[in-house]
């Protein structure tokens, strides 16, 4: 996964970079908040950011706020590094938009575990975003009927957009995903089909009588 590090201390930055590369991540290092902000604004920016709170210029907290205010499709997962143990500092960081924090000096196993949480979160978000995109594309293909349809009270034809009268079946089929399979409902069978069959049978019988 692509990771950006913002840490003004060169030694700490190099150690962090070495650890992350060892764990298989693609790392971009920056030494202040401004440089990190530029990296995070690029198209295809890193999905995970590890930011020191205390930095010259834009500090880690301000960087978090900027990232959260920018309209990213998938915002990066942010881990803040703080040397202060106080709860207010941690609360400030989370309120500014950090997903997680680590107190310096940190344990490398803990860092690795927290980075892994970030990776899982980003992968989940990416997968959800892809699903949403697929659904949005699918929605554009769904046709639906809505509004008022002018229909003939007698023959039940529908007047279409070209001002011609269409059979209800063809109209509905053209304006939706519906396909028709034809059958006869019991009422129509009793009222229409049955009398026609009886009439047909009578006419056949008459035709077979001698002298006809």
């Amino acid at each position: 996964m692509r990771v950006v590090i913002a840490e003004d201390d060169a030694v700490s930055r190099r150690i962090l970079e070495t650890l992350l590369r060892k764990w298989g991540h693609e790392v971009t290092t920056t030494q202040d908040g401004e440089a990190a902000w530029n990296v995070l604004r690029e198209p295809g920016a890193p999905s995970l950011a590890i930011l020191d709170i205390l930095m010259p210029g834009i500090d880690g907290l301000e960087l978090c706020r900027r990232v959260r205010q920018s309209p990213n499709n998938i915002p990066p997962y942010i881990i803040l590094l703080t040397a202060n143990h106080g709860v207010p500092e941690i609360v400030k960081g989370i309120e500014a938009g950090a997903n997680d924090y680590l107190i310096k000096p940190y344990d490398s196993d803990e860092l690795r575990a927290r980075v892994q949480v970030g990776v899982r979160m980003v992968e989940l978000q990416t997968s959800l975003a892809e699903r949403v995109k697929e659904l949005e594309v699918a929605l554009t293909h769904v046709k639906k009927l809505e509004g008022i349809l002018p229909i003939c009270s007698y023959c039940k034809k529908i007047r279409n957009d070209l001002d011609s009268w269409q059979h209800v079946e063809s109209y509905v089929a053209a304006h939706s995903q519906v396909e028709f399979s034809h059958g006869i409902c019991p009422a129509c069978f009793e009222n229409t089909v049955k009398p026609q069959l009886e009439s047909f049978q009578i006419s056949q019988a008459l035709a077979l009588e001698p002298g006809n």
Binding site: D9, A10, V11, R14, I15, L19, R21, L54, P105
Partner: protein
């Protein structure tokens, strides 16, 4: 000392040791925790470069700049700036096992500068001395590794 302990920076967070007089004579072996530094061998990269040499170079380039910033801040009574620069120097020193510089930084972080300018001056002198000793050890280690 293990790599985990380095990363944990145990030196950095332990309470300061008993006060050390500013000009106390120390041996160079106290200046740098070599065991701690060598634990970075676990992280050596595959490209053949020596991470420890690289970290030493970074530290020896970065620390004097921090120390200059600390001195300038002290001269101008900019105690906020001083504490911030001290905080940074403490972190990188502790990371590399430069423990006496880190310990001096802890003292500088904790001292009430406004009320103890003489104390600050002594600690700055102590910081310079400890850094000089540590540089000697680090440069020697660097040379040994490059041979």
């Amino acid at each position: 000392m293990s790599f985990e302990q380095i990363i944990n920076g145990e030196n950095q967070e332990t309470p300061p040791l008993a006060p050390v007089p500013a000009r106390v004579i120390r041996t160079t072996s106290d200046a740098v925790d070599m065991e701690l530094l060598k634990a970075f061998e676990e992280l050596q990269s595959d490209d053949g470069s020596d991470l420890i040499v690289e970290l030493i170079d970074l530290y020896l380039k970065d620390a004097p700049q921090r120390m200059l910033a600390i001195r300038e801040a002290a001269l101008e009574n900019e105690w906020g700036l001083l504490k911030r620069a001290v905080h940074n120097l403490k972190g990188s020193s502790a990371n590399l096992g430069v423990r006496l510089v880190a310990e001096t930084c802890i003292k500088l972080e904790r001292i009430e500068c406004e009320h103890s300018t003489e104390g600050v001056r002594k600690l700055l002198q102590q910081m310079d001395d400890e850094f000089a000793r540590a540089s000697e050890v680090l440069l020697s280690e660097r040379q040994r590794r490059l041979q």
